[in-house]
């Protein structure tokens, strides 16, 4: 295989998020933050959320990682901001399904925003962990059961 296949994963929008991540900062007044490690490479992501009533008012992340983990974290913050907690949990679960190659409803895809593009991860199974790290942290932060 040539490197062409890489284009399926490293799309312009992915590179864009990785190089200019959204909401990459800590939240001093976060109601909760969760840090997770990718044990095989040592990358870590910390996700901060500020909830009010049942809604995620603000969400952000810090940490180091590869293109995929940074882009995915950035996309995650876009997708989950302003969602109610149950919907956020559902959205995380949809993302996990997507990375495992499941086809989502167009509604679910829409809710994922840019992250919907990461369906191509199913072709790169070794990188799924990189992509889901931030989403697992987010899900844990809003109190969804881990994995």
């Amino acid at each position: 295989m040539s490197l062409n296949k890489l284009n399926q994963l490293y799309l312009a929008v992915v590179m864009d998020h990785a190089n200019h991540p959204h909401h990459k900062s800590s939240l001093p007044d976060a109601t909760k933050s969760v840090e997770l490690h990718n044990v095989s490479c040592g990358d870590d992501i910390r996700v901060f959320i500020k909830t009010k009533a049942d809604r995620i008012e603000e969400i952000s992340f810090t940490g180091n990682g590869c293109t995929i983990s940074q882009a995915s974290a950035s996309m995650m913050t876009d997708a989950l901001k302003d969602l109610t907690i149950p919907v956020a949990i559902k959205t995380c679960d949809d993302f996990f399904q997507l990375t495992m190659g499941k086809t989502l409803t167009s509604k679910a895809k829409k809710a994922l925003g840019d992250a919907a593009i990461l369906g191509s991860l199913a072709e790169f199974p070794a990188r799924i962990k990189c992509a889901t790290l931030a989403w697992h942290a987010a899900k844990e932060a809003v109190g969804g059961e881990i994995k």
Partner: protein, 411 residues
Amino acid sequence: MDKKFENVIKDFPILSQKINDEPLLYLDNAATSQTPNPVLNEMVSFYQSENANVHRGVYTLANEATTAYENVREQVAEFIHAPNAKSIVYTRSTTESLNLVASSFGDLVVHESDEILITIMEHHSNLIPWQQLAKRKHAKLKYVELADDQTLDIADFKRKLTERTKIVAVTQMSNVLGVTNPIKEITRLAHQQHAYVVVDAAQSVAHQSIDVQDLDVDFLAFSGHKMLGPTGIGVLFGKAELLDEMNPVQFGGEMIEAVSRTQAKWQSAPWKFEAGTQNIGGVIGLGAAITYISKLKMTWIEATEHKLLTYLLPQLVQIKGLTIYGPQTVAEHGSIVAFNLANLHPHDVATGLDMLGVEVRAGHHCAQPLMTTLGVESTVRASLSFYNSLADMDRFVYDVKMVKEFFNRES
């Protein structure tokens, strides 16, 4: 390539498969080596003709299995030039061997405010067991740092070695920096201070010949799966008189001499450490791996790998934006090369190489404190074996450049 090489390659069918439609180029030998057919055949033949539990039956089959199992112990002793088979304990892995020393021997000799001296280039398996021991005993864990050329700083070792040092634990070959440490000198100095020396030979055992008596080490650990053998079998060499002093850490099965309702008496070493049914098939495979290596000759393996590295390293050094960790010169470098490409994350690089059929590690290589010292989170790592060729090296260099270009174009 010569005839010998061609024959060797035939023993490793896995190497002729395709990965992502490209011929596999396996460069993760430091994580685990591939297992040649003669080793697999020996294991299968054991299961198909001699399989029985060892040290248990008086019948013919059990006796054959026991003899085979104990003969490999002799073979291992000879392989590392141990004085006799009694100093060879079977374990699951290097990790288990090191844990056994740290928890059984460590508990005997390390006391409050004693010091344990390890190096900053240790694999977690030769680091956390000592960290835990230090915690348990309120002892002090000290690290020998790197010199400017990223070899071990022997001056720092001398400074940190004191009369309080009870154990020096050090790797013979770093799984990241590729350097080989001067074990004989370290042992000589440590023994002057009456400290015991524990050597992690996980990376060295398949690449250089080891003489535990010449090195005068007290303990030495390695794994079968990094030396052409199967997974699940490891070795702990220990000086017989030290093994004798140590208490077993697992109990049951054939490690006992007698058991009553209220107490138990252990067998002598090494058997007292081998509780329950051991990985008998794994032992047979380990023996076959040693036979395989002996037939190839360790000097040939060393020469072949040195030739590969001599060819590869200067080419890598010339790639712009590529940083090599550890010494930059072939003279001080074993067949492991860790590197990074500027602004690229090792995972992305490894995925790129994987698309081209080249299998390398990306990560912290179970050496996080070393990563911190090197100022990185992780690196790419290519580790060579005698079954790689010069053409493989050319291809690898080419592919690294391709990957670099791909990502530089994108960003």
